[in-house]
Symmetry: C2
Subunit: 358 residues, 2 copies
């Protein structure tokens, strides 16, 4: 990335950040009209929302610029709102995901549930405080999801374009929830964790809203051809799947991650990843099974599980899956209808994602 490109990315990020700050600020002030307590919920949510690098909105806006020969400043205003909406959708999903997973941290910092717990008055029964904190996160997820729709519904777009953006949001929410529901169902033993289902769940749960949605909204706003939009959608799915599989690899085999989850937390939770789905059909499974989903897994047991997963070929298998995804992205770009500048943007993003270590 050139110095100029880095400067521009910063500017886009700042502009989206300001839009999000204005969103939370207006809602916090409005909540204050009810009571101090409700305002505090919004203020804590704002603090928790702002750990991210806004990769989704930046991708949306950069892709619009790459697809447009003469980017329109009026459209940019609308893109900032749409970019903020994409980030709010991400935040709403995180809020409810964390409640479902029983997590109180995210990126090594307290999430909204954790922040509320820390904020509970002394002397309150711990079980009641936990219920209150979880309920606050469910309700804030609803407020953010509703606020995201409000933002999108008010962007001044021609009817056809508005319908297109609404369709994309609708599709994305359905797909993400389908993935999350399958993930929960596998984790709770309602559905089996066979590899094809684990892969489709991985794709739906993260890839769609993280990569496919911003790329398609950009294509829609830039008036790109259907062929370009569909190729970008396919690229987004490949990138998203690679991204999530790498995340699973880093969680299971990575060194303690700088801003990541506790080491071995995926193993402790018994998360149904592609690594686990592969290992289930190997000889290592007999020794692995009792270690997985054990909330009291010791570091030594974690290291053993990690070693067995490497030995049995699961690590190499998933690393190859990741490599294939990036190869597929290259193929989609070189043979397809995506214009050169847009293809370069994807290649640069894929390079960054491929090299990430946390």
């Amino acid at each position: 990335m050139s110095a100029l490109a880095r400067e521009e990315a910063l500017t886009t990020r700042q502009a989206v950040g300001e839009r999000l700050e204005a969103f939370f600020d207006a809602r916090s002030r409005h909540a204050g009209a009810y009571d101090r307590h409700f305002r505090q919920l919004w203020d804590l949510a704002y603090e928790c929302a702002f750990g991210g690098k806004l990769v989704r909105p930046v991708l949306l806006i950069d892709m619009y610029d790459a697809l447009s020969n003469t980017p329109d400043p009026d459209v940019h205003e609308k893109l900032l709102d749409l970019g903020a909406a994409v980030e709010l959708l991400h935040f709403a999903f995180l809020l409810h995901d964390d409640v479902i997973d029983g997590d109180v941290q995210r990126r090594g910092r307290p999430n909204l549930v954790g922040s509320l717990l820390a904020d509970a008055p002394p002397g309150v029964d711990p079980e009641a405080a936990a219920h209150w904190a979880r309920s606050g996160a469910i309700l804030m997820g609803d407020l953010v999801l509703a606020g995201m729709h409000q933002l999108v519904a008010r962007v001044d777009l021609p009817l056809a374009q508005r319908s297109r953006v609404l369709d994309l949001i609708d599709f994305t929410i359905t797909e993400t929830v389908a993935g999350e529901y399958a993930d929960v169902s596998m984790g709770d033993g309602i559905l089996s964790g066979a590899l094809p289902r684990v892969l489709s769940t991985t794709l739906r749960k993260t890839a769609t809203y993280t990569f496919e949605l911003p790329l398609r909204v950009a294509a829609t706003m830039a008036g790109a051809s259907t062929a370009t939009e569909e190729t970008l959608a396919a690229v987004g799915r490949q990138l998203g799947l690679a991204f999530q599989l790498q995340d699973d690899l880093l969680s299971t085999f990575g060194i303690a991650r700088e801003h990541g989850k506790d080491r071995y937390s995926d193993l402790r939770e018994g998360k149904q990843t592609a690594i686990i789905a592969f290992a289930r059909h190997t000889d290592a499974w007999q020794r692995l099974e009792p270690l997985l989903g054990n909330p009291d897994l010791s570091p030594a047991q974690g290291a053993l599980a990690s070693h067995l997963l490497s030995e049995c070929g699961a690590r190499a298998f998933v690393e190859q899956l990741v490599d294939e995804r990036y190869t597929e992205v290259g193929t989609l770009l070189s043979d397809g209808p995506v214009p050169p500048r847009a293809a370069d943007l994807i290649r640069s993003l894929a390079g960054q994602l491929r090299d990430r270590r946390s």
Copy 2:
């Protein structure tokens, strides 16, 4: 209500019911494209959603007709969508409320959590099944809330009217969540359950979305004056507060309700109602306190608590609050700008609500 009016109400109810059926049907079919399991979640949700009498959409459409001298058939099509949206908002709130309250029934029938529990494969660990069922209801609440916004955003309205309807939805969601959050906070001992807070919570949690929202959307769609809309909003708040206070009275003192909750469930849950807030400042409190919030409350203890709440004047106090609300509705209508046919509609509704025994 005349025979003709009853027939018309039936027709409106049927038309909204068909709109809702189409909504769930399309989404169930779309979910089927993912997997049978996700489709089943939509189908169970549809069954659970359809216990209600659609009072909110019927009120919206009847009020539009009462406010319009020449009701427009084109507008009626849009009102059916807006009416369906108001009902979906109600359903989304119920889904998350039930998760927060840990309820598995509603109106004496299994709610979505209860239906999912009944549907879990045999042999699944009961705690895992409970987690899965709760998570399914959280996710379905998100899908319904998102679907409601999709419906509203696609109604073809002029920009000013669209903004007005979006403002009303935004206001209603904020207000309902503010009420629900205060309710949870009081129940969990984070906030004290003083009478003014209990009353404002009661108002926000139910009255706004049940009465104020449909009345204001009707006024907006009929192009009513600001004075009329604001008076109808005030009427809606009074009706809603009376409705919820009556609900508290019926739960605490009523005979076993036909389609209602378990008798004494409010007492068992330690729900912070106006009845309890009043009783806290009477001599009966010392004997009442140990009975409230006891999940194992026996029928004899329930009867004793109910008797003490009557004796100490809490029942008479809340009955008077209810009476004052209906008197206030009468005053707002007779002195105010609401046109005669619209006022008659409210009076007829108030009469039905006042007489209800379940």
